[in-house]
């Protein structure tokens, strides 16, 4: 295998892993910049995956090729609905953020599997007919070398994810809304005295995380696993949270971290097929992503500082 096709394989594989993580990690960044710790990303991804698969199975004939994209919207809406539970619990009822998030993580898999049994009388759904396939950018894929590596037979969603990350960064750091959201996460008391509606801003942070988390779950289900079962989303939500922290609560950082995790994972898998690396016992390659993560964390990352008021409940004093 020549090095061009090898690189193209690694890039493509990285995108496969990372895309759901990028969306969810950006969502997490929004929520936590507003001051609400969102541990429930895993549960939101599960519900996003579940709803998108159900939608896809039911409406694949009506919408044809557009079905997976509409499935993303459905996943987003359901993600928002679930995140509202978390938002209400933490903002209105002042519950502990981590407990509330954990409740979502316990609720979602159980609820979704129960609903699958109720709707389909089976423990896991059938495979969807319309999934996200490969995409070659029309003109760009013809560029020699770079075209084949980055633009041919790749995932369109990955590029959308990168654009969303840049957009999110711009919203969070260059717009008024972003400034307000961040201030509410740093010092809600001060923000309140200046007339900002702390509750409303925190709600919007959580809702955005629900939206993006739902999309992340929907992408995973519709492009990687092709169906929904109890074991579809296991850990991806937590990995996204790790990516968010790795990226220091910055959307671009979170995207970079998610891409790094995906890269490490795909290296370990594709490495098994490269002539030289294939001789290494499989177990070292399987452990490699985690070791690599720790090494990068220790050597390059410095202190990760979370928004100051992240995790505290704000009570509007009289």
């Amino acid at each position: 295998m020549n090095w061009v096709s090898m690189l193209s394989l690694i890039v493509s594989s990285t995108f496969v892993f990372s895309t759901p993580l990028i969306f969810t990690a950006i969502g997490g960044a929004f929520s936590e910049n507003g001051g609400i710790v969102n541990v429930g990303l895993e549960g939101i991804m599960v519900m996003g995956a579940f709803s998108s698969v159900v939608f896809n199975l039911t409406f694949a004939d009506t919408f044809g090729k557009a079905t997976p994209w509409l499935g993303l919207i459905v996943g987003a809406v359901v993600g928002i609905a679930i995140s509202l539970l978390h938002a209400m619990a933490t903002i209105n009822f002042r519950a502990d953020h981590i407990i509330s998030g954990t409740v979502i993580n316990l609720l979602a898999p159980a609820l979704s599997v129960f609903l699958v049994k109720a709707i389909y009388a089976k423990g896991q759904t059938d495979n969807i007919a319309q999934n996200f396939g490969y995409f070659s950018f029309p003109g760009l894929s013809k560029i020699p070398v770079i075209g084949q590596i980055f633009f041919k037979d790749t995932s369109l969603l990955a590029y959308i994810a990168i654009i969303v990350a840049i957009l999110a960064w711009w919203i969070l750091y260059k717009t008024r809304f972003g400034l307000h959201l961040r201030s509410v996460g740093e010092n809600p008391q001060a923000a309140d005295t200046l007339g900002l509606n702390v509750y409303r801003l925190r709600y919007s942070g959580v809702i955005i995380s629900g939206l993006l988390g739902g999309i992340g779950g929907a992408i995973f289900a519709q492009s990687i696993s092709g169906n929904f079962s109890a074991g579809t989303i296991v850990g991806q939500g937590y990995i996204s949270m790790a990516a968010m922290i790795f990226g220091k609560w910055n959307p671009i950082g979170a995207m970079g971290a998610a891409l790094f995790f995906g890269f490490a994972q795909s290296l370990s898998i594709i490495g098994g097929q490269l002539p030289g690396i294939a001789k290494i016992p499989a177990v070292y390659l399987q452990v490699a992503p985690y070791v690599l993560t720790i090494i990068v964390l220790v050597l390059f990352l410095g202190k990760a500082v979370m928004p100051k008021a992240d995790g505290t409940n704000y009570v509007k004093s009289k």
Binding site: V16, G133, I270
Partner: protein
């Protein structure tokens, strides 16, 4: 203080009421079957972490049990047949305990992961019959070990692949390295080798393990790597990780540049291979699937237990001869089908012994 007292009384009343309701409910629930409990045989299934709809093992066993129950007029529940789903390994012993306490006379543990749990429980409950599927327990009188000669069905899959490949490269994706997947690995490689020899060509098998039975993203990436190296058929023995393999093959086939195949495992996975070509025609990329007769074995052993002939302490192996494993016809060409048939007969006649472990 008064409020606390009222609250405590209320709770106490509720608890008493619920206990009485629970006791009363038990008798009325089983009244509809009409037969007395002592003549019936009750069987329970303890699933692996895949669940009864993992589209393979556990589902097959459950379907076999349901067929058995139906043919003996039993209903689902504690007086007939039932399954207990394990969502992770720590559920195994609690589920088995639940089954023994509910009075089930025969308990099936589906999957090699349940071996320690079944062994322990069999020693604790010597009057109950236990079956472990896909592993062996020696020296315990009330346990039957049932293993399958998956190496034989994988051999047939290898022959089918050899007769179908156009690029002379095929792939094998394993789940977790171990005795069970070793059989698939070794059988497939041997079958490909034999088929290649008969056709007079040289076929390479690319081999990689995902390290997980539930990682469709890894499955997709590994399949992507193999297909881009030129493999046109991939045999997966990786459970839910295989979902990713199917997704990858679907994406490639729908793209239209080349045709790739997947060989399914444990049950007919042709439903997962449906796709629409670029011209809009319906096609299928599941070349064939190896079958594991977990359902038939479940039914058979339940019958034997019911008749009082439970072969406790024995280790039964089910191969092509006993129809315990097999290969579907799938999309095989006539030439491939004939080759498979011939190989099957040779294995049954004992002319070919298929290795159980891959060559080091």
């Amino acid at each position: 203080m008064k409020k606390a007292k009222v609250f405590a009384t209320a709770v106490l009343t509720a608890v008493v009421a619920l206990t009485l309701a629970g006791c009363a409910g038990k008798k009325s629930g089983t009244g509809n079957s009409g037969k007395s409990e002592t003549t019936k045989h009750t069987v329970a299934l303890i699933t692996d972490t895949g669940g009864v709809d993992d589209r393979s093992f556990n589902q097959s066993a459950w379907e076999g049990l349901q067929a058995w129950g139906k043919s003996h007029d039993l209903s689902r529940g504690n007086s007939g047949y039932q399954y207990f789903q394990s969502s992770n390994e720590s559920d195994y012993i609690p589920n088995i305990n639940q089954a023994t306490q509910a009075g089930f006379k025969t308990i099936f543990g589906i999957g090699y992961k349940l071996q320690p749990a079944i062994k322990q429980s069999a020693k604790d409950s010597p009057k109950t019959n236990f079956v472990i599927i896909d592993d062996s327990i020696e020296g315990v009188k009330n346990v039957v070990s049932a293993t399958f000669k998956d190496n034989e069905s994988s051999y047939l899959a290898g022959v089918a692949a050899a007769y179908t490949t156009k690029t002379n490269k095929v792939g094998f994706i394993g789940g977790v390295k171990g005795d069970v997947i070793d059989r698939f690995d070794a059988g497939f490689a041997a079958g490909v080798k034999e088929g290649a020899k008969k056709l007079g060509k040289s076929i390479t098998v690319i081999n990689q393990y995902a390290g997980d039975f539930n990682a469709p993203d890894k499955g997709k990436s590994i399949a992507q790597g193999m297909y881009s190296q030129g493999a046109d058929i991939i045999f997966h023995a990786s459970g839910a990780t295989g979902n990713g393999v199917f997704q990858e093959a679907k994406a490639i086939n729908q793209d239209g540049s080349k045709k790739v195949w997947v060989i399914g495992v444990d049950r007919d996975q042709s439903a997962e291979g449906k796709y629409k070509t670029k011209d809009g025609k319906s096609a299928n990329f599941t070349l064939t699937s190896t079958l594991k007769g977990v359902g038939a074995v479940t039914e058979d052993l339940s019958n034997q237990a019911m008749k009082g002939k439970f072969p406790g302490g024995k280790h039964l192996t089910y191969g092509l001869k006993q129809d315990g494993v097999g290969l579907t016809d799938g999309q095989l060409s006539t030439k491939a089908k004939d080759a498979v048939k011939e190989a099957k007969q040779q294995i049954i006649d004992g002319k070919i012994t298929v290795p159980e472990h891959p060559a080091k």
